[in-house]
Each structure stands twice: as C-alpha cells, then as structure tokens.
C-alpha cells in the first residue's frame, strides 16, 4: 500500500522530468543542426533546394546578362539598363564595357556564387539548376555564360581586371563543378 502511494505521488514528477529532459535534448540538437530551410520547387514535389537559392541564381543570371548584351540567361529575365542612362545602355547593349565594369560585375557574380555555395555545400551548379527545374538547354546556357564571363575576365587581366577577382571566380567555378572549358 505504501509502495503504491509513493508510485502514485512520484509518477507526475517523473513524467515532467522526462518531458523536460526531452525538450532540452531536442532544443540542443536542433540548435546544432545546420539551419537550412527547404522550399518546394514549382516543378516537382521531390526536388528541394536550400531556401533563397532560386533568388541567388536569378541574381547571378541577371549579372551574367550584363556581359551578354542584356540577353536572358538560362531562361531568367535579362538585364535591362535604365532608359535614361545612355552610357550604361551602350556598355551593356553595345558591348562598350571596360575592364573596370568587368571587374565590378564579376565581383557581384562572385558574391552570388559564394552564397549559393554556402547554402548548397557539395552540390554542383548544374544539379542546383536542374533541381530548380531548368531544362538541359537552359542549364547549358547558364553554365556557358559563366565560362564566357571567366574567359573575357581572364582575357582582360592585362587591361585592368584584377587577377584576384578572376582567381576567385575560377575557384568558385571549381567548387561548383563548372570546368573552365567544356570537353
């Protein structure tokens, strides 16, 4: 009788203690888990990407577009210079950009690629674009535009493009599985 009374009085305490311990354990484990939020791709429910990746690839395409006459890259909207800025228009649409422009644009591209790498470790850009639902043709266009950008930036090193900026782009390309040339 005595035992039963102890059991009855202790059981809520034990349950509470176990629950508290479980909550603490769960919160500790959760805080140590990489904070990657996944979003569902519009194309299929089985394809997932780190949150924000689609925005980053879109931004990358927009900046790649500046060196491709404002053309659409990988199916993303192309870059449209402001209507009232004739000089900027000539730079983009008429390929009138100089080494300083290339330097600035490649730096911006590098920043977006860095964030893509950070959010999607150990994933190739090709896979990322495929998971975003890009067609093989659009994926090829996107990767091709990066290769051409690297090629032009590398060729302009002698004209004032910072070699470190080019080196950074090459390093990011390597991390993202983009060869300098396609074989």
């Amino acid at each position: 009788m005595r035992i039963r009374s102890d059991y009855v009085s202790l059981s809520p305490i034990v349950v509470a203690a176990v629950l508290t311990a479980a909550i603490i354990l769960f919160s500790v484990l959760y805080s140590r888990t990489p904070q990657i939020n996944f979003v569902e791709s519009s194309t299929t429910s089985t394809r997932y990407l780190a949150d924000g990746t689609e925005g980053l690839t879109k931004q990358t395409a927009l900046h790649l577009s500046k060196m491709q006459g404002g053309a659409s890259i990988g199916g993303f909207p192309g870059f449209e210079p402001p209507d009232d800025d004739e000089r900027y228009k000539r730079k983009v649409k008429g390929e009138g950009y100089n080494a300083q422009d290339v330097n600035n644009w490649v730096k911006e591209i590098n920043n977006f690629l860095k964030q893509i790498v950070k959010k999607n470790p150990n994933r190739s850009l090709e896979k990322i674009l495929q998971k975003q639902g890009l067609t093989p043709s659009q994926t090829d266009d996107f990767l091709d535009a990066i290769q051409r950008t690297q090629y032009v930036a590398d060729g302009m090193k002698g004209h004032g493009v910072n070699p470190e900026t080019v080196k950074m782009l090459e390093s990011l390309m390597k991390t993202l599985g983009i060869p300098l040339w396609t074989y």
């Binding site: 053309a71 100089n98 043709s137 290769q147 060729g155 302009m156 002698g158 074989y183």
Partner: protein
C-alpha cells in the same frame, strides 16, 4: 599541332601556361566564317582579347586548349549553318545530345573521330550590334604515357654508369 609565327604574351597559370596569339594564327582545322573579327570591348571597341593557346597539366593528361572570342556580321542561323556544314566537311562530327540551338543563342559541340579532340562553339546573337558573337574552345587531351613506357629503351641501361664500371675494371 599548330605552329604560331609569334605570340603576344605568355602567362603562367595554376595548372600550366598559356600563350596569347595573333588572330592570324588561329587554328586552321576550326575555320571561322568570312569577315570574322576579334571582339572589341570598351567604349571605342579597341580592347581586344586575343586567341589563347593553353596547356593545362591534369593528373592523367595534358589538356591543350585553343580558345578565342570573335564576332561576325551574320545572323545566328547563318553562323550555326556555316559551322555545321564547314566543320562536318573538315571531318568533325556533332555531339547531338550536347548541342542546343535556340532563337538567340546556340551551343554546338563536335568531336574528331578517333582522336581526343573536341570543339565547343558558343554563339550569341547581339540584337543591338546586329552580329553574332562566337566563343570557341578546341580541346585536345594528350594522355600521359605510363612511367615505364615514357622512358626510351636506350635510356633504361644507364650507359654512363656502365661506362664508369668498365673503366674501373
């Protein structure tokens, strides 16, 4: 292997070296459409990127890469047709699964049968300039011979050492 009359610049790369060559020295087995010129960047279009002849040392081979960026006042369709016809005549074969042709850009891939040579032609139509820009890479993979195969038989016997032994005796 192509020969160049002179080169404009030599550059050391992380994995090898490259030469910037004159437009006239562009490889003949990947011909360019008539009236092709180098792309001129900058406000006055006087910043040129010269073709590059690059050697890249890989773990299992050496990549020899010829590349260049050019433009020609022809439509994208005309340039695509030109490359497909001309390169096929020269013995190149297309890689259909890696070839994409869209309304304002195209990516053409070719290989040369029984060799390790491949060509990648990236084309984009520039509406404002009314011309097509071409970036071309011709890649040849030169496999590394194995360590033993790479040493000629005549060198395996170490003749100098043998001479020294004979003289000593």
């Amino acid at each position: 292997m192509a020969l160049v009359t002179s080169f404009r610049q030599i550059q050391r790369n992380v994995d090898g070296f490259s030469l910037r060559v004159n437009f006239e020295d562009w490889i003949r087995d990947v011909p360019l459409p008539p009236q092709t010129s180098l792309v001129g960047f900058g406000e006055k279009h006087d910043l040129f990127i010269y073709p590059e002849w690059r050697f890249s040392f890989q773990t299992d081979c050496t990549d020899e890469v010829w590349s260049g960026t050019f433009r020609v006042a022809l439509s994208l369709t005309e340039v695509v047709a030109w490359f497909q016809t001309k390169l096929m005549k020269q013995g190149w074969a297309t890689i259909p699964e890696k070839t994409f042709i869209e309304s304002d850009w195209a990516s053409l891939k070719f290989y040369f049968p029984e060799t390790t040579m491949r060509v990648s032609v990236s084309l984009r139509w520039w509406e404002d300039l009314k011309d097509t820009q071409m970036t071309i890479w011709r890649v040849t993979k030169h496999p590394l011979p194995s360590a033993v195969e790479s040493i000629p038989d005549s060198q395996l016997a170490l003749p100098i050492a043998e001479d020294a032994v004979r003289e000593g005796a």
